[in-house]
């Protein structure tokens, strides 16, 4: 096998760009329902958890185990799917296409391409980490984990959807369980947090529905299938309307300034496991929507709004950094810092070059991990230090070394220092963006510099400053806290150091190979990579 692999690699001609290669090990495992299983298994187990009797919390541990192993099963399935994925195939893979509501042309159409498989891996990994981060939940355990699994299913469904009706369904469905999770298990300002989330995400959903219905009508009103809707020309006026509506929908989720109003309260007051899901995967759906529907589906519309997107991206990064610097609350500071990866993703999408788009795809993964890590690390730190007040928190590193170092890693991951996955994504995005959006790229880079100052100031004060004798007692992280923070940091480091990511021996699918983007942009000459359009034969 190794000899065959070496031979196949050696026989590839060297050139300016990678050539499509046969994927050794592909099609070892095939399933017509792999995406449906990934979506509906958590729903099924949520229903099981929801109806199982749990007198006086007797089966709390069992419920947590069910949630963990359900997510583990989904991760395993998607891990296999990822390893079987063929990078250079210019079509969707693992497709499921069944008629659903023929009267309006809605189909149950699922499928993944490069960015989608990467997002699915992110979502599954975040699912497991969220369960680990929620092991401390003691009240209404059954309802909590049922809602968490439902959220997970909604995010997976929105990523795998290849029909706009299905996309809207899963996209909007995620709001209800998340709002209930925050209302039920959130911090002191949970009411404000939950209603802000519902308000902003609801507004985003309205914008998405308008965009989807606009696309549907403009393309003839016969189908919601992306293969049909996104390939029909819809006219310049409709393109502007659709592009702006999609931008609003994406910006409410990612979030981007000025539609970021939910982020501070939600990240600061949601339970840590829920913050991980929102920061890590649910909010990344905003960037994914812009990538898949706007850039991949309506490139002319994307070009029209590109300067606006670049401006918004730049303002978001600068705002996040400045707001973090001025924040008196450590969790609010983390929430503001968590805005930054979204800005980088948006910049890559605004630049519309092959390199910047590839950077954006990786930034969805790396940014999701980095945002989840910074939010959860600061949340754990404030929980363990029994205060969120930056005026009180000081010099805790010596008394909570594990949390301290994981927080440092989180900060490095957010800033995109070398060896972190975010370094690679940021570099790709900037190098790609300086060509077409130089002002935006410069502003985002300047924002990152301010963010570095903010992070340095906060970390210096909180972790390595003089200990505050009046501060409450401090304790280090528990085993489960170390595990979930460690997994997030480990994923960032792994992809930063070994870009190929985890692989089944014999397969050859690097995690962020630019070929992953090919399927989406293969039909857009200006932004497709030079090697697009070719297909590999297994």
């Amino acid at each position: 096998m190794i000899a065959g692999l070496v031979h196949s690699i050696a026989s590839q001609p060297f050139g300016p760009s990678p050539s499509p290669a046969t994927v050794p090990g592909a099609n070892i495992f095939t399933s017509a329902f792999i995406l449906s299983i990934a979506i509906w298994a958590p729903v099924l187990m949520a229903a099981v958890i929801g109806v199982m009797p749990n007198p006086r919390g007797r089966y709390d541990t069992l419920i947590k185990q069910i949630a963990f192993f359900t997510n583990f099963l989904v991760l395993f399935l998607l891990f296999v799917a990822y390893n079987q994925f063929q990078n250079f195939l210019p079509s969707m893979q693992y497709e499921e296409n069944r008629s659903w509501l023929p009267a309006i042309g809605a189909t149950y159409h699922l499928g993944v391409d490069g960015p989608a498989i990467l997002m699915l891996m992110l979502s599954a990994l975040i699912g497991i980490i969220a369960v680990l981060a929620s092991l401390g939940i003691r009240t209404r355990v059954r309802a909590y984990f049922a809602l968490l699994l439902l959220t997970q299913a909604c995010v997976t469904g929105a990523i795998a959807a290849h029909d706009l009706f299905v996309l809207v369904l899963f996209w909007s469905a995620a709001t209800v369980p998340l709002a209930l999770l925050i209302l039920g298990w959130g911090g002191p300002r949970r009411e404000a947090a939950a209603w802000r989330l519902v308000g902003y995400w609801g507004a985003g959903t309205l914008a998405l529905v308008l965009a989807v219905v606009g696309l549907y009508v403009a393309s003839g009103g016969t189908s919601f299938d992306m293969d049909v809707v996104l390939k029909n020309p819809i006219g310049p006026r409709a393109e502007v309307v659709v592009a702006v509506a999609l931008l609003i929908a994406g910006a409410t989720r990612l979030p981007l300034f000025p539609l970021h109003g939910w982020a501070r309260d939600v990240y600061a007051d949601a339970p840590i496991g829920v913050s991980v899901v929102i920061a890590g995967s649910a909010s990344r759906l905003g960037g994914y929507l812009l990538l898949r529907v706007l850039v991949g589906g309506e490139p002319d519309g994307a070009k029209l709004v590109a300067p606006l997107v670049a401006a918004v991206a730049a303002i978001t990064v600068v705002y996040g950094a400045v707001a973090a610097l001025r924040s008196p609350d450590v969790r609010h500071a983390a929430a503001n810092l968590a805005l930054i990866p979204g800005g980088v993703t948006a910049l890559g999408l605004a630049a519309l070059t092959p390199l910047s788009i590839a950077g954006s795809v990786l930034s969805l993964f790396a940014g999701g991990m980095a945002s989840a890590l910074i939010v959860s690390a600061f949340a754990t730190l404030s929980d363990r230090a029994q205060t969120r007040n930056l005026a009180v928190l000081s010099g805790v590193a010596a008394r909570m070394p594990k949390v301290a170092w994981l927080t440092v890693l989180a900060a490095l991951g957010l800033l995109g220092v070398p060896l972190m996955a975010s370094f690679t994504s940021n570099e790709m995005t900037f190098f790609g963006a300086f060509k077409t959006q130089p002002v935006g790229a410069f502003a985002v880079a300047a924002g990152l510099a301010v963010a570095a100052i903010a992070v340095a100031v906060i970390i210096q004060r909180v972790l390595f400053g003089p200990p505050n004798p009046d501060a409450p007692a401090v304790s280090d992280s528990s085993l489960s806290e170390s595990w979930y923070l460690g997994l997030l940091a480990g994923a960032l480091l792994w992809v930063g150091i070994v870009p190929g990511g985890p692989k089944i021996p014999g397969t050859d699918t690097p995690l962020f190979d630019p070929g992953l983007v090919n399927q989406m942009v293969a039909n857009i000459p200006e932004i497709s990579a030079p090697y697009s359009g070719t297909s590999a034969t297994p």
């Binding site: 109806v51 008629s99 659903w100 509501l101 023929p102 009267a103 309006i104 209404r140 309802a143 009706f165 809207v168 369904l169 899963f170 909007s172 469905a173 709001t175 209800v176 709002a179 209930l180 209302l183 039920g184 939950a194 209603w195 519902v198 308000g199 609801g202 507004a203 959903t205 309205l206 529905v209 308008l210 219905v213 606009g214 549907y216 009508v217 009103g221």
Partner: protein
């Protein structure tokens, strides 16, 4: 023979209602055991009627000189109404009702009224069915609150008077009371003011009746609120009768739609946005349900405004979901539905009821993946196709407000602890019985299944729209 078989469902429902009235009179201890099984008998009668309807109503024909229409629209509406009534009776807390006999008979009579409207081929049948459904609501409300019953009677009488004026003028204009004849006569007619006025009055009366429930429920009745079943009857069945009548009459006068389209749009917009906003403004689950139902009624009316088959088909589909949720949900909440505090932690004490109430509220709010979402999304697509983008935007806003309201109540049901034992002043929770628990589970299954099997149900609704003569 076939035409008599077609009347079996209606006969069963009317006979069942009469039997319930008679059997309910036996209150001695000797018959007590029998009395407690009357709801199950009523549900069985309704389900048998639905099964016969499914069998016999599959044909498409007209009988009795055009007075009885057998088409897919009637089949769909009758099935939905029978199912909704059965679910409402099954899930009801009979301890919170004033009279078992009337509590069983009146919903069945109201269902009969809707069935008459759905299969009627002329104005007289439509009007008669509508009045029957309305009268059943008045009786139910008046049992506990004679003043509320009287108010509903007066409001209904005003609506009826307007409707009769409209019907009379339309009849005078076109020379026939048959719906098909009206449609045919208007095909070449110009939308003149003399024709526009009666049509507006007629549709206005119907819409007024459809939205009466919030007027009854929204007002605070803290001291002696109406019984849960009466609210379900008014908000679900009586409103459904008015909406079904509106569907039939709007299609009949469709050729002069130019005279009422803007009016329909305004009414739909007001109902969608107003229903959502009002649902947010109140806290009592029962009042919220009524306003959510009013908001979804706005979506149904908006679907009618599209004037083409997909839109009206979606409106019919959504009407089915609306009538099931609006009829059964107040019964699921029981007497405790008048106060948010009273239903706190209901999920802990009555999990099946809490699940049924939550699903019904989410469906009324249009949350995915329930029936309300499918219906509202399809109407949204139809609105966009017909160029009603402003109506679409208002509707989406209304849905967002409705969703916020629904989440607020679900939070109370699931995430708050039950009030302390012995806390005075709160209405009692519904009594736990095996039958009502099964009813709540069945209601959950119906609401979830309506979304899950949206394709065949939507297909039937679409055929219903086709049967109305829409292309």
């Amino acid at each position: 023979m076939t035409k008599y078989l077609l009347l079996v469902p209606e006969t069963l429902v009317v006979a069942g209602a009469a039997a319930m009235l008679l059997l309910g009179r036996f209150s001695t201890s000797r018959y007590r055991r029998w009395r407690s099984s009357l709801p199950a008998v009523a549900v069985a009668v309704l389900l048998i009627a639905a099964a016969v309807e499914l069998r016999a109503g599959a044909d498409v024909n007209t009988y009795f000189g055009g007075a009885l229409l057998v088409d897919r629209f009637g089949l769909f509406v009758k099935l939905a109404v029978l199912l909704a009534t059965a679910a409402g009776i099954a899930v009801a807390d009979w301890g919170a009702e004033d009279s078992l006999a009337l509590g069983l008979a009146m919903p069945m009579l109201a269902a009969f009224g809707v069935m008459v409207v759905a299969s009627s081929g002329d104005f007289v049948g439509v009007w008669a069915g509508l009045e029957l459904a309305g009268a059943a609501g008045v009786v139910m409300l008046a049992l506990r609150r004679p003043d509320a019953g009287l108010r509903l009677l007066l409001l209904s009488a005003a609506a009826s008077a307007l409707m009769l004026i409209g019907l009379g003028y339309v009849y005078a204009s076109v020379g026939t009371a048959e719906l098909g004849g009206v449609h045919g006569a208007l095909l070449g007619a110009a939308p003149t003011l003399p024709l526009a006025l009666p049509v507006l009055v007629l549709l206005g009366a119907l819409i007024y009746r459809a939205a009466l429930a919030p007027l009854q429920v929204g007002a605070a009745h803290a001291l002696m609120p109406p019984s849960p079943m009466s609210i379900g009857l008014v908000a679900g069945l009586a409103a459904a009768a008015a909406v079904v009548a509106a569907v039939k009459i709007s299609v009949a006068v469709g050729p002069v739609s130019a005279v009422y389209s803007p009016y329909i749009e305004i009414v739909a917009a007001l109902a969608m946005a107003g229903g959502g906003a009002a649902a947010m403004a109140v806290r009592a689950p029962r009042a919220r349900l009524a306003f959510l139902a009013a908001g979804q009624t706005g979506w149904v009316i908006a679907g009618l405004g599209t004037e083409f088959r997909t839109g009206v088909g979606a409106a019919v589909f959504l009407l089915g979901a609306l009538v099931v949720a609006a009829t059964a949900a107040p019964a699921a909440a029981g007497g405790a539905g008048i106060s948010e505090l009273a239903v706190s932690g209901l999920a802990t004490l009555r999990p099946a009821r809490a699940a049924a109430l939550s699903l019904a509220m989410l469906s009324l709010a249009g949350a995915p993946p329930l029936a309300g979402f499918f219906g509202e999304f399809t109407i949204a697509a139809a609105l966009a196709r017909s160029g009603h983008l402003e109506l679409l935007a208002v509707g989406l806003l209304g849905s967002l407000l409705s969703l916020v309201a629904a989440v607020g109540t679900i939070r109370v049901l699931y995430l708050q602890n039950p009030p302390e034992e012995g806390r005075r002043g709160l209405p009692a929770l519904p009594v736990w019985t095996r039958f009502s628990t099964l009813g709540a589970v069945a209601l959950c299954a119906v609401i979830a299944g309506y979304g899950l099997f949206a394709n065949p149900i939507f297909s039937l609704a679409d055929q219903g729209a086709e049967a109305l003569g829409l292309k």
